[in-house]
Symmetry: C2
Subunit: 328 residues, 2 copies
Amino acid sequence: MQKHPGIKDIARIAGVSIATVSRVLNGNSYVSPELSERVLKAAGKLGYQPNRIARGLRKGKTNTIGFLIPDIENPFFSAIVKGAENFLRKYGYTILLCSSAGKAEREDELLNVLYSHKVDGLMTVPLESQNPYLERIEKLGVPVVVIDDIINQKNISSVASDNYSGMKKLMQYLLDTNHRSFAFLSGDPHTYSGKERLQAFRDVMVQEKEKVEYEILLGTYTFSSGIEMLRKLRKIPDAIVCGNDMIAFGVLTELQKLQYKIPNDVSVTGFDDVLFSKMTNPPLTTVRQDYYMMGRVAAQLLIEDLNYKKRNSILLKTELVIRGSSRG
Amino acid sequence: MQKHPGIKDIARIAGVSIATVSRVLNGNSYVSPELSERVLKAAGKLGYQPNRIARGLRKGKTNTIGFLIPDIENPFFSAIVKGAENFLRKYGYTILLCSSAGKAEREDELLNVLYSHKVDGLMTVPLESQNPYLERIEKLGVPVVVIDDIINQKNISSVASDNYSGMKKLMQYLLDTNHRSFAFLSGDPHTYSGKERLQAFRDVMVQEKEKVEYEILLGTYTFSSGIEMLRKLRKIPDAIVCGNDMIAFGVLTELQKLQYKIPNDVSVTGFDDVLFSKMTNPPLTTVRQDYYMMGRVAAQLLIEDLNYKKRNSILLKTELVIRGSSRG
DNA sequence: CTGTTAGCGCCTTCAC
DNA sequence: GTGAAGGCGCTAACAG
């Protein structure tokens, strides 16, 4: 008799009906203290744990939130998940996690899986901005929060860092410290963050066009892409502005291999301020975004949508972090 | 009529019974090609997605696997999750993720949550080796795989790296390259990996006791703990052997701040070979464990338990990775 | 205040 | 080969 106990078993032992058991356990209706105690005692004795599957079927609410992200191994995404999970847990939600592994077709497939599991809500970091799969999500009728992208449709909540102003702050600092020639090593320009950062860089260059010179290379948000792009550079400028920290790490490594002194010969900057940015030698000047907070805010938005059908889009502030990889 | 379509709706449109719909969709019983086609067409038209909650209740199988780990933000754990997820996905499983945030009482609480969700199996990286909560898992009767720990009970599968032999390999290399004084900066000695690594270090020291001298400090697996322990060192030895890479990063940073030349003045080694170990300056000599593979093997063990009730414990090989932070 | 009953969506005997 | 009916465990009417 290893079968898991149900309210039926409790009812039998406590000598009451299953309805009474349900009422005691959910506490939404009055039950005499006497019966209540008998039920609780029986439940405790059996080590009863409610079957959330059955409850979910009955109530049309599973207390699960689907999470669809490109890659859980990436510290950026895992920090978001952590922030979100901590918040959602307080409201009794558990996370169903799926990684698209960077493939768009998996996004669609996994969306169906999550939907199939009847998640109460959905959080996603889309592979591309303006992804058509966002429309599909909307049609599903499940509350959703898009992370690291800003959606203007009024029925979808979203949260992202203010990449544009962050990059502008960084550029202003570089200009103020007498950097005049630049290289921008971009990450994926299809992503929201990629677009915004690149745009900010361009805007500043145009604005200062009389005193600066620059070149722009496109790559991906990876260490190896950083190395590659650096090698393609026509000349080493005053400052190499990288699309994110990973790219900057690649650049730092390769520059040092080529015997450049940083920041004396050239300044290098990143974007994100991941955990390791302060551990490199020299430590990296970068723009901090608070991923953990991003996950938390996303969870908050989802809860609001779930409870009050309120939607909102939030832009998070960034912070310029000046360290040893830039002179000035 | 925004309600999600069910087999009832399909049955009505296709003009068949719900039993026939179910049979076509599950393909386990013969249905005439004619009806079959009508059902499929109707299902496609409605964009039908099975309700896995209902199915789970009926079949007693939810196709979900519970994952209980200390901290998803830690790259070590997230890589494991990634490896496991990729494998489990092929078998139609989705992951329910919970982080214990390093608190033992949450391990118990979250275990109940996962159980409540009727997960088909469980994977966990326990906070401490010989954790009493493992006994509770066993009683629940849910197949489980313990990761980064080796469980000898015959009814629990487990997988871990061979930390002991990995550390021995590293020590042998250091001895061969004429290091004679050592400091061991340990991570948490309550964990399986902490114990094994420390034990290997001790065993080598005892074995070579005539020619070596050493000291041992205990801390945690963090960057800041590395810095702290370094400061407490009575003297800077030939080699500082760190419990893991994070500790080594702290040590590298602090040593450089104190103007030590690495590896000329002192060698520093880590353990794990996380992504950033090759990006430090100098890059870190360490012992590689393949987390991704660990997650994958864990998933494989779970599938075997699920399908054939087979249990097993597997020790994964490690690899010595010699880089610039050690002389020789 | 408590018990009886229906049914959430699906699968699976059991008849035909 | 196909349909009708019961039930997985639970909650929410509806009676009493």
